[in-house]
Subunit: 343 residues, 2 copies
């Protein structure tokens, strides 16, 4: 085999507000690689098949001097995020050619790595599309599965409010909540997303762009659990609507990721009066407790249709910038992944 | 014995901002009672000795239609709060004349009640002043004792920041934290209070009116536990200074109790990024788990000087309004109680 293109999508500069495709991040198609001959140095060559686009990536587009839970992106280097690839060649017996592996991938078509411990080999006995392993059977699904068990203290008959309910995390949470016998109120930003939420069994689904979150929560009699993906004014409305002893699962606050003027939460005194318990968390921190159960149980449930998902493929590393922006703005239709190669 | 005055301190009208002595609450010395002959109706007559003045009382001065964790005050009726009294006469074998009892008391010199279950009989083998049973050995001490155990997850070598550190709750928390081997940063609003905090063993003590809380927390390298008695801008500074996985014990937010313009917390996105756990709580909710241990252990520790406290007596039900205002403004010197009678 002669050299082939090894396309990459690079971080370019820290954005102010929303990331700008072609400016914040740029595609670079200038590199090549010969998969047959590239030096492995005791490692293995991975061909990228799918890459996930997730809201939290915005937080990595920051001044690298600022510490946070996830490493920053560096200008001139490929972006990275969860991906699935196939092993093309391997000099390490722990990873075999032909195996499919899951980890945080650089945004490029091929790459060599030497540390097999960073990778989970996906058996995929269920024959799911590989993209599912960066969605419902990957980090977003884990986020929902881990934190719902750890923090919801859900009791049958209680009411949960789930924001970004059509996303890979929110849609999973809705289904877990229904399995636990809760009344589910869920919101999303388009009528198409709302229809998907309803198909998952949510009792109340609404488009927050055309219906007041505050009015819905009041009309429905308040909430016992809040799954927060958005923060800001919606969090404030959820605090106002919370019952005594409500649990707030703070998964993300996308409303604040791209704003230069942060929203001030004005009703924090209710945290005391209502005895609210608020759990900020990052999925990695719960992995050691829940990940083996997750891989044992969840792919099978997805294959049987017991857990439903939607996804939206964006083809080609050239289109990463637009995909990231769509997820930040919520203009995507479903969980977004980059399809880099078929096999 | 002929009839004696039965002075009362009444709620009068809902305040806007700080309560106004003589307007928000008023003293009424017009009633009399004959302790020897007043009808007990199967109940018992209590003579009030001490009454506690606590920050949370401000929240009871509200429109009675607004639900909250603690019942509202009603115009024309006596205020109520924790108190200790002596039983003068009793027709109920569960409560005996001469016993000292603790409960929520109406703000009046004498009253008849019929439900002994509302009262804890104080043995006081240690011979503590009765006022201590509405302070370090009462609700404020319980607040510190219960919630520190329930929520702090304190580990030796960690750092805690305690606001209102000279109050009956904060000063107790400081001592519990030192016993657990933490570095303690504590603030208060006067140099006299700061001196008391230092005497309790706090590693860093400062007057927040003359020193920037934010600067102190940054200089000291951040915090693992925040005991919040004040909320608002201080809570925001604590979020900024929090280490990953910090615990926030939300005991009170006095900075917001008397303001008409609530402060907006602008850094809530850090709750996710730093994986903060925030516990709003009310002491009553933890009582069944911890109260017996508290009464078994804490009065003895106080008597031995292992737990220190300060207190400030305000003599007479006439002066309740000023005492309440002082506690809301923080112009008191120490934990305030009303001395109603000596014995």
């Amino acid at each position: 085999m002669s050299p082939v293109r090894n396309g990459r999508h690079l971080f370019n500069e820290i954005p102010t507000g929303f990331p700008v495709p072609g400016k914040t991040t740029v595609y670079d198609g200038s590199e090549t690689i010969d998969p047959d001959t590239v030096a492995l140095n005791g490692g293995f060559l991975i061909k990228t098949l799918v890459l996930s686009i997730d809201p939290y990536m915005r937080g990595k587009m920051r001044d690298p001097k600022i510490q946070s839970y996830s490493p920053p992106y560096y200008a001139g280097k490929p972006l990275d995020n969860y991906g699935v690839g196939v092993v093309v060649r391997s000099d390490n017996p722990a990873i075999k050619a032909g195996q499919h592996v899951y980890s945080v991938f650089p945004f490029q078509e091929y790459f060599v790595d030497t540390d097999p411990k960073k990778y989970r080999v996906l058996e995929n006995k269920e024959g799911l599309p590989w993209s599912v392993y960066v969605g419902a059977a990957g980090m977003p699904g884990q986020t929902a599965w881990y934190a719902w068990q750890e923090y919801s203290a859900a009791k049958k008959g209680e009411t949960v409010f789930v924001t970004a309910g059509a996303g890979p995390v929110g849609s999973f949470v809705i289904q877990l909540a229904k399995l636990d016998g809760l009344k589910v109120i869920a919101s999303a930003g388009s009528d198409e997303k709302v229809a998907f939420i309803k198909s998952l069994g949510a009792d109340v689904a609404f488009n927050y762009k055309t219906t007041s979150t505050r009015e819905v929560l009041t009309r429905e009699g308040g909430i016992d659990v809040y799954w927060d993906n958005v923060g800001g004014e919606t969090l404030e409305a959820a605090i106002d609507a919370a019952h005594t002893n409500a649990r707030f699962i703070e998964c993300g606050m996308i409303s604040g990721y791209n704003s230069t003027e942060p929203y001030g939460i004005k009703n924090a005194t209710l945290v005391v009066a209502k005895q609210l318990k608020i759990f900020g968390f990052i999925v990695f921190a719960l992995a050691s407790k829940y990940s083996e159960e997750f891989y044992r149980v969840v792919p099978g449930k997805i294959a049987k249709g017991e857990i439903k998902y939607t996804e939206e493929a964006v083809v080609g590393l050239e289109n990463v910038g637009e995909a990231i922006l769509a997820v930040q703005k919520g203009t995507n239709k479903a969980k977004v992944f980059i399809k880099v190669a078929d096999a």
